[in-house]
Symmetry: D2
Subunit: 389 residues, 4 copies
Amino acid sequence: MTKSGKVRRRLRLGMVGGGPGSLIGPVHRLAARIDDRYEFVAGALSSNPERARQGGREAHLAPDRSYETWQAMVEGERNRPDRIDVVAIVTPNNVHYGPAKAFMEAGFDVICDKPLTMTVEEAEDLVETRRRTGRLFAVTHTYAGYPMVRQARAMVAAGLLGKLRLVNVEYVQSWLTESLEATGHKQAAWRTDPAQSGAGGCLGDIATHAYHLAGFASGITPEAICADLTSFGPGRQLDDNVHLLLRYADGARGMIWASQVAPGNDNGIRLRIYGEKAGLDWQQEQPNELIFTRFGEPPQRLTRAGPGVVGVPAPYIPHGPAGHPEGYFEAFAQLYTDVADQIAARDEGHAPPPQSLLVASVEEGAAGMRFVRAALESNRQGGTWVPPG
Amino acid sequence: MTKSGKVRRRLRLGMVGGGPGSLIGPVHRLAARIDDRYEFVAGALSSNPERARQGGREAHLAPDRSYETWQAMVEGERNRPDRIDVVAIVTPNNVHYGPAKAFMEAGFDVICDKPLTMTVEEAEDLVETRRRTGRLFAVTHTYAGYPMVRQARAMVAAGLLGKLRLVNVEYVQSWLTESLEATGHKQAAWRTDPAQSGAGGCLGDIATHAYHLAGFASGITPEAICADLTSFGPGRQLDDNVHLLLRYADGARGMIWASQVAPGNDNGIRLRIYGEKAGLDWQQEQPNELIFTRFGEPPQRLTRAGPGVVGVPAPYIPHGPAGHPEGYFEAFAQLYTDVADQIAARDEGHAPPPQSLLVASVEEGAAGMRFVRAALESNRQGGTWVPPG
Amino acid sequence: MTKSGKVRRRLRLGMVGGGPGSLIGPVHRLAARIDDRYEFVAGALSSNPERARQGGREAHLAPDRSYETWQAMVEGERNRPDRIDVVAIVTPNNVHYGPAKAFMEAGFDVICDKPLTMTVEEAEDLVETRRRTGRLFAVTHTYAGYPMVRQARAMVAAGLLGKLRLVNVEYVQSWLTESLEATGHKQAAWRTDPAQSGAGGCLGDIATHAYHLAGFASGITPEAICADLTSFGPGRQLDDNVHLLLRYADGARGMIWASQVAPGNDNGIRLRIYGEKAGLDWQQEQPNELIFTRFGEPPQRLTRAGPGVVGVPAPYIPHGPAGHPEGYFEAFAQLYTDVADQIAARDEGHAPPPQSLLVASVEEGAAGMRFVRAALESNRQGGTWVPPG
Amino acid sequence: MTKSGKVRRRLRLGMVGGGPGSLIGPVHRLAARIDDRYEFVAGALSSNPERARQGGREAHLAPDRSYETWQAMVEGERNRPDRIDVVAIVTPNNVHYGPAKAFMEAGFDVICDKPLTMTVEEAEDLVETRRRTGRLFAVTHTYAGYPMVRQARAMVAAGLLGKLRLVNVEYVQSWLTESLEATGHKQAAWRTDPAQSGAGGCLGDIATHAYHLAGFASGITPEAICADLTSFGPGRQLDDNVHLLLRYADGARGMIWASQVAPGNDNGIRLRIYGEKAGLDWQQEQPNELIFTRFGEPPQRLTRAGPGVVGVPAPYIPHGPAGHPEGYFEAFAQLYTDVADQIAARDEGHAPPPQSLLVASVEEGAAGMRFVRAALESNRQGGTWVPPG
């Protein structure tokens, strides 16, 4: 699972946004830690100076690299010898364009949340800026990071499906079924507000993910779309349901259904691609499997490290063996967090938090050894009943 | 998703084993990074000095804290002012007991892989040592770290199932269906070798996980077991299939089926618990859901952050909203890794590795904005066909 | 499972079409037998007189009621005292209109396959004829017969979903992925031939089922549709993929996706309905369950006779208890057929056909009794190993 | 779907038991009708003469063949020229032996419910009687009638799994979780009463099905079993949970878990068989699929008429194409029943029963035709919005 020999420098990561109360900022930082390729060293974590400082302390930033504004951060970082390599922009949609452009102009690579900007014009200016500055600029369409989505992309690219005919994607949620924004819910409020989200609601928030996923996996792009947007939530200004038909240049067809008002669906992303020779089916809530069917053969269930996954270079992320689903690492991490909680509680002289479970102490480890001994003894006697110790 | 206010010190983590070629060492280090509660600062990563040094360099250890033996590590760390807080022992089973005891004696907390030791006597000596030294000692029964397993435990403890009747666990794999150990496969070789694994094969390797999971979730312990162990692999000395019946003190009954020879199963752990009032069903390969059925009502599908999950304190790990399965973070991390690859390739003047995909560049971000504009335009015209730009 | 007391006359059933080689004719007759409400007594089973006679003999028709043409059947039946009550028309699409009209005019009730006719004008003439004659006229949209579809309809009608917002149906097959019609395949040939199928291919064949199912379950009807039909099969004249958007009078929206070219799908019908208060999800290939989710509550899995199915009158068909899926009866019937095969073989002095399995002979019944005795004995001895007999 | 040419005589079927209030009697008669190989012509449907007569009327028996006792039926039938061919015995367990023996002695073939008798001695006498009389005798282990169970059996017999290693069967229900028998529930009462059920509760009722299924599909038989039976229901005399280990002569191993007290399970039968080369997995509540995995290859989903099902003779039952699950026929039958209800209501001058739905009238058939026309029109215009008419 490790790479051979080579010692790689960790990149220095900065962040704009993502301070206390942020949903996605901690996710970015966690994601940056998992593969140990980044150190998080600088940030302008909030537009509120006090919250920015507090966020910096919680994230173990050096005080002189916890900035009060992103403008100060550009200035502070540009001339340091240990300046950041890349900045992650995780602010609301209407604060993407300014820092994205400024950091590129100052020579930094950029990772930015989606949707990219408020308008097409801003987006195109960022494209132009990137070309001129030669910087890297990545937009975080997370779902394209799943191993089995990459497997799908590789299988399409390898021609296993033949010429494509259909690319159907759905992205179905339920959380805006009622007028959550009227209750003061922060995430609901800005996502349903044209001033902060732009002109698309569900369209910009999740249909863009579906659209990107369709293109990422299929490798083809549409030449015409036909849209039917609806706003079902009482008093809601932006669309909360998107029905879309797509026509591709080479005759393929597509559908996108994105919804935030379908009870029973949490984050139901499904990608189906069909060609002349085979079909693929992937669902985000069971991300570890990809159903692949050659026409005239039984459907096969492919898993990340399982058999039948061929011709796809392994990703760098150190994944476990087959059957250890994405998520196994979080389960493992929970154990480490529990230990840290226990140690902190002991060192600080108070009780550990109630949710902290030392899932298996040495006593339980010893009980496991006695279990093994008893099972061997029972078996040795021909299958008798033995106390486990 | 962040915790309020408090700034916590990161614990200093050391490791015994886990150098180049190790399967589980990198998983431990990744797990320690996810929640950002540890810094990895010292290690004796291999019994081979050269490999130990190489592992230390790859893991960014300071040279004076990359030790050649675990004995040297105990001595080197015990008197440092910045000495490690906790050591993770990730060596083969027969090298658990020695370092576990020595690190406890030297005043360190311990995280240790399972099964704990080679014999019950060693295990009981570790229990005694832990009591005497007052150290923390955690055994990594990973599957108990899944949020929905903890939800199950909490529901049982809250009495939602009533008095328990049945606790049935299965842990089914296929990888030893053929004599993989005869091919020189390192993992298969030591796991089927009594000298390195102890007297139990499948029994010690995975049935112990099933046994721990049964106790962790149910809170009850058996008073008698009846075992039927089989070795199906040609020439195999240790068991590769375990059939077990269990009787609990309070009249409950259990079954454990663990196998390494069942084609079609990668890592199929399933936990089912039934009481007088309700039943629970969880499967590791779909870890995000827990089926809960009150007698006389329809089965409910509970998910980590979804409705119906009550009375269970949230874990510390910053998980996403409902529908973002465990594994979402790995997908996100893949994006960061891709960016790091691209930057490294550029800085070093070569092509990025073929598997590195900048899943969405700024050009694609801009395409997404044009998609939104086109969809709004199509919809504004009553649902006409519009080019996406 | 039986109805109380009342003795009901069996209806006399006739059939047009459905002779040797027919796919759907035997299905109609089987369906008519299941609930024992019909006797099949007359037919014009083929347009070929010899095949018509042969079909009549195989179906145990009296020779004078096995007609050579449907016209002869109208004349022959209309004046009999024991004339048929109802006629089933199971011919290709282009032979629906004629007999449907003639049998109604002659005073018979009609059951007719879909799509109803070749043109809207013919269809409207049948509507007018039905009004004038007062006959019953049923079109066989089979999928609306599933118990859980009726449960869905009843739940919508009872207001459990609140005002409806979305009705999305898909009906996805793969069998026309290649040009099956070019190989002489009879079913493929007529379904892709405008002269026999009418102007719609996939549209008339299966999208009409999806359209009916949407209306049947939701109770609402669209006021506008937007269609994108494609023909992917080389040289194919009729559409084999249908993408449809729907707008309903009361503001609800819908999608229909019907396809015959999606490898990995056999007969994948899925119905999803969402309202202001709850959502429903049903899939034909797992017909025994209906997922019902009230907004803000966990999804519930409803089954035909299971808990949570309220307010819906039971259908007449004698179904088994919960957990005995639709299909249990076919499994049971297979046993009876096996016995019939064995008896026929014995009586006729030859070996039974190879596929005929007497699944459990009296010897195996006795083995089962010995198994019970051995299990009781093992248990009585505290759980020892006992030979089963 | 029809068989070629041959006209087969329908067998004459009689029944002992199965009158008003019976659960399984109507299922037998329905099963006998499905494939049209039997005519139901005689019965002693109840031990209560009045109920026997009433049952005969409801089942359209001729009055002289609706007998008051099974003894009278033996006498009445044995000398008729049109005597029954086969008798189905569907009485409680304690009334199997008597009629089974008597009908064999009188020269009739027998179909009998399981468990066969109350004691092993009775069972062995039936075996001896059958040998002496040369009659056919079938025990209704229904689950062995599913097409995919037969496919499993055929694959094992064809050697596709190699030498067998494991045969694990579970049969899990929940209906006896509480003391249903104390409420006067008829089915619960006799199944928990040793006098009517014999010495095994769950053991005789459903573990015998699991045991038969294991042998039917695997073709091997155990040489020793180890049983742990439990009675969890308060005051219950017979076991309601069965944990069983099995050892086969050739070294294979097995487990059986049967339960009636596991909330969340309706009728959860699962059969898993593993050999040196491959594994099989089948679940009764999704009976149409069989998961087949060759070691080292991805799991394949086989369906009845789908690809990959080779070397297995088709059963006689006229099944539909792939994707039309077992159960499709019941759905179809519901439509016929609805029509019969509507006709009966009209003829008798009252309203049809509320549950009777004419799922698609001719008006709806015409609406379907207008839908097709509108979709073609929308498509012809390049994908515009068109009213469906």
